[in-house]
């Protein structure tokens, strides 16, 4: 944090009852041309209280005459004044520095270029990580949290291929598709790609969901995690549509891997379409509820992704796509398999099959089947999904365990 003015921006952003929309309106008052300087003035006004604070509160709430005769803006002004007076901007700035969080304001060199030109650009953006934003080429890979094994595998493959071609993978760090996409982008054999970017809804010090903590650290090590929310902000539901618009705005292309008929990914799609950003979708089984949304997108005109190459072609990174279906797995023929192992392998498919089902198909005792599956797993032909087994696609990154 270099200047007191930036500290002022951070302090205002951290006030209670502050939302990105209100912050954006305040930033217009602060003046877009010299945003940092203007924030100091905003903070002073708030601390002074009275008419100055009330004026700001009215502006933040949209400038409409209040339905209840000004009560709402008065309450807001009082709240903000009290909060602004009770903190020292230097202390706030020091807290952010201690957490390793940088503040990006429009006009900063580090502020992502794609966002700078956006209509709804974040007035204050927080980031943590080695980079400040995506590289020159960025693709969003998003999808449902209740993803199937198929969706996660495709997302991971996509992430790996994009990273291998120097593309920044942008996603929301949610469980399911988002996490799988970044796992793929960070896989050791994915090669050095553009910095991965995760955009989250909560404050950067709040780890949500807990299961992605390790993934978040790995992203910060080579890329960046962005958020509009101040430190300590919890992942309230209303923050997520806002975060989705940032994901869309940062990218040249949005790929939806799996989505239910209604879901957050579809909101990201709306934000993308509103900005003229192209949307692609991965088809899925018509029996799978997790592909109902993506299949609908395709029916509504989104481009179909039948292999990671399709995405590269859409980006202009490749001219000819590989023939579709090549992503399907085929067993390596040169391995020596016993008849029992061949039988078991034949019972496994590219979507997970439960152990119970394999027992029925092969009609062999559990001990024999279990041993065969273990050998096939060791040979890299199948993967254990916990009670179910699936053929391992040759291109999927090898995640053991």
């Amino acid at each position: 944090m270099v200047t007191a003015a930036r500290a002022a921006a951070v302090t205002v952003a951290s006030l209670p009852a502050m939302t990105p929309q209100r912050l954006a309106k305040l930033s217009r008052v602060a003046g877009r041309s010299a945003p940092a300087a203007g924030w100091a003035g905003v903070l002073d006004d708030l601390r002074r209280g009275g008419e100055a604070a009330l004026h700001l509160a009215r502006a933040a709430l949209g400038g409409r005459p209040d339905a209840d005769g000004g009560g709402r803006s008065q309450r807001l002004a009082r709240r903000w004044s009290a909060a602004a007076r009770s903190v020292e901007p230097e202390a706030v700035a020091a807290a952010y520095d201690a957490a390793g969080v940088r503040v990006l304001l429009p006009g900063d060199d580090a502020y992502p270029a794609a966002l700078a030109a956006d209509q709804e650009a974040p007035a204050v953006l927080f980031c943590r990580g080695a980079a400040a934003g995506p590289g020159p080429c960025a693709v969003a890979v998003v999808g449902t949290r209740s993803a199937t094994h198929y969706g996660k595998e495709v997302a991971a493959e996509l992430g790996a291929v994009l990273a291998a071609h120097g593309v920044s993978v942008v996603s929301g760090l949610a469980a399911g598709i988002d996490a799988a996409a970044h796992e793929g982008a960070l896989a050791p054999d994915a090669g050095a790609g553009g910095p991965p970017v995760a955009v989250v809804g909560a404050g950067l010090d709040v780890v949500y969901p807990a299961a992605t903590a390790r993934l978040r650290e790995r992203i910060e090590a080579v890329g960046t995690v962005l958020s509009e929310a101040p430190l300590g902000a919890s992942p309230e539901p209303w923050r997520f549509p806002l975060r989705n618009r940032v994901i869309a705005a940062l990218s040249q292309l949005v790929v939806v891997v799996e989505s239910h008929r209604a879901g957050g990914a579809l909101h990201t799609v709306e934000s993308a379409l509103a900005r003229g950003i192209e949307v692609m979708a991965v088809p899925g089984s018509i029996r799978s509820p997790a592909s109902a949304g993506t299949n609908w997108l395709i029916a509504s005109g989104a481009q179909v992704v039948t292999s990671p190459d399709d995405v590269l072609v859409a980006l202009g990174r490749k001219t000819v796509a590989a023939p579709s279906g090549s992503a399907a797995a085929s067993p390596l023929p040169h391995l020596e398999l016993t008849p029992a192992e061949r039988g078991v392998l034949a019972a496994v498919e590219s979507t997970p099959v439960s152990t119970q089902e394999i027992l029925e198909r092969t009609e062999r005792p559990l001990g024999e089947v279990a041993l065969a599956l273990d050998r096939l797993d060791a040979a890299g032909l199948v993967r254990d999904c916990g009670g179910a087994w699936v053929l391992r696609s040759p291109r999927s990154p090898r995640r053991d365990g």
Binding site: R145, S146, A147, T148, H149, K152, A175, G176, P209, S285, R287, S288, P289, A290, T351, P352, S354, T355, Q356, E357, L359, E360, L366, G367, E368, V369, A370, L371, L373, D374, A378, D384, C385, G386, G387, A388, V390, D400, G401
Partner: protein, 506 residues
């Protein structure tokens, strides 16, 4: 003059001998009971008085003191009524002391002089070391199960007094009822269609005493499988049968047919049952709970996640030590609680989980559901399997499923092998003995190493895995070494909890 009569009182599920001393002396008429009697015991005075008068026997108008020895132990219940009444008769000179020597007396008295049943006759009689025992007529069969005593029935105080005084003989014992055939309903394994994995899990659980968790959608046969487990377990030996009967008796439950049970008990408490009914306790007289009634048998907890966390937590001690300590303000008690635990749960609240993202739950709901079952509890289950609904093909087609008898035979052999190692079952093998009794061959070792490196097996899960693999090897009659096949099967029967419940959909 002092009369001493042998009787017993119930502490938990164990009886403790009580010597009822009756002292009659000159002085203003009074009647005091000492020796820590509880409320019901103190009321004996009124019952005994009315019973004596109703039986046309004398009530001494002197100073009477009754001591219930040992005086430091709390005496509960009304079972000492008969002994006190007989003691009074002896102290008053109506009955010769030698007639009551060598006999114990147990029973509650009605105001009309009838002798009534009390709960826990079996443990009470088991605590007596007299040659004979006099019990209420309805409890005669139960008392005979102990086998050490000459049992006499008492229907009324008058009859007892007459018999002891030599005025009449003892009433004859009721005829033992013919033993009914063991109930074969809901016992046939061949009735379970499909479910190869589930049936195998039940077999391994029975053979090695391994706790098993069945996870699956509604209608996948979890309850059916659980109900068949007691039928493939070996029958109870005499000690175990007596223990089961003692607990039932102390809980006030009838003993079927008055014979010792041969089949292990099966208890399936509902998840709305109170913690006390499950674990045992209660104010005043402490009663054993469901987990004690399941001792030497099966405790089936359906909808495991619906049980209150406090109840599931209370299971940890019994699962580890095989007993449960119940402490109250007035007293504390230890009940036996050594059972085979079968848990059933859905993979998620909507019940579907698993295939093709059929689950309709939001990730937050799934997480909440998964959090209800704590890691330490799930860790206790040696076997964790996923059961599916049987396919139409399996339900309709003719299949030769193995009958219970075949499975039970293998289980019995496996249990024999465990006994040769000095434990009741393989699940009891101490960790230090695993290297001796459960050595792995080269292939098994390689498989295990790979899984350890991949983090699929934790160091703590390792011991449990080896015990399960030992049981599987025993069932296969494989001899000392555990092979790759046995270890793989053990791994297949032991799915990590986070992949089973609330976890990733496939």
């Amino acid at each position: 003059m002092i009369a001493t009569i042998q009787s017993a009182t119930l502490t938990g599920v164990e009886g403790r001998p009580v010597a009822v001393e009756v002292h009659v002396s000159n002085g203003l008429p009074s009647f005091t009971i000492v020796g820590l009697p509880d409320a019901a015991c103190r009321e004996s005075r009124d019952r005994v008085r009315a019973a004596l008068l109703s039986s046309q026997l004398a009530w001494p108008l002197r100073r009477v003191t009754v001591n219930l020895a040992p005086s430091g132990v709390r005496k509960a219940g009304a079972g000492l009524d008969l002994a006190i009444a007989v003691g009074l008769l002896v102290a008053a000179g109506e009955i010769e002391p030698r007639e009551v020597e060598g006999s114990g007396f147990i029973g509650e008295l009605g105001l009309d002089g009838s002798v009534r049943a009390v709960p826990g006759v079996l443990p009470l009689v088991a605590a007596l070391h007299t040659a004979g025992v006099v019990v209420p007529a309805v409890s005669v069969r139960e008392a005979s199960l102990v086998g050490r005593h000459v049992v006499r029935a008492a229907r009324s105080l008058r009859e007892v007094a007459d018999a002891l005084a030599g005025r009449a003989g003892w009433p004859s014992l009721p005829e033992p009822a013919p033993a009914s055939g063991a109930d074969e309903e809901r016992s046939e394994m061949a009735d379970v269609q499909g479910q190869r994995l589930g049936r195998r899990a039940v077999e391994v659980a029975a053979a090695g005493g391994h706790h098993v968790l069945l996870c699956g959608p509604p209608g996948s046969g979890k309850t059916m499988l659980a109900r068949r487990l007691p039928h493939v377990l070996p029958p109870l030996d005499r000690e175990e049968a007596l223990e089961v009967s003692r607990v039932r008796s102390a809980a006030g439950l009838p003993l079927p047919d008055g014979t010792l049970p041969s089949r292990p008990p099966f208890r399936a408490p509902h998840h709305c049952a109170s913690a006390v009914s499950l674990v045992g306790g209660g104010t005043g007289q402490m009663r054993p709970g469901e987990i004690s009634l399941a001792t030497n048998g099966v405790l089936f907890l359906d909808e495991l996640g619906e049980f209150p966390a406090s109840v599931l937590d209370a299971l940890r001690q019994p699962l580890e030590e095989g007993v449960v300590h119940v402490a109250r303000a007035r007293a504390s008690c230890t009940f036996p609680a050594r059972f085979l635990l079968v848990g059933a749960t859905n993979p998620c609240p909507c019940g579907e989980g698993g295939p093709a993202g059929a689950c309709r739950c939001s990730p937050a709901t799934r997480d909440r559901y998964a959090r209800r079952l704590s890691g330490p509890l799930l860790d206790r289950f040696d076997l964790r399997v996923r059961v599916e609904r049987p396919s139409a093909h399996e339900l309709i087609g003719r299949h030769d499923n193995e009958p219970t008898s075949a499975v039970a035979a293998r289980v019995a052999l496996a249990r024999d092998l465990a006994r040769q190692r000095g434990v009741r079952c393989n699940a009891d093998l101490p960790a230090g003995a695993l290297d001796r009794w459960a050595p792995l061959d080269g292939e098994a070792r390689a498989i295990l190493e790979r899984r350890l490196v991949a983090g699929a097996v934790t160091a703590r899960g390792l011991d449990r895995l080896r015990r399960v693999a030992r049981t599987i090897a025993d069932l296969a009659g494989a001899g000392e070494l555990i092979g790759g096949e046995h270890l793989s099967e053990a791994l297949a029967l032991r799915i990590p909890p986070d992949q089973l419940i609330g976890g990733a959909t496939w």
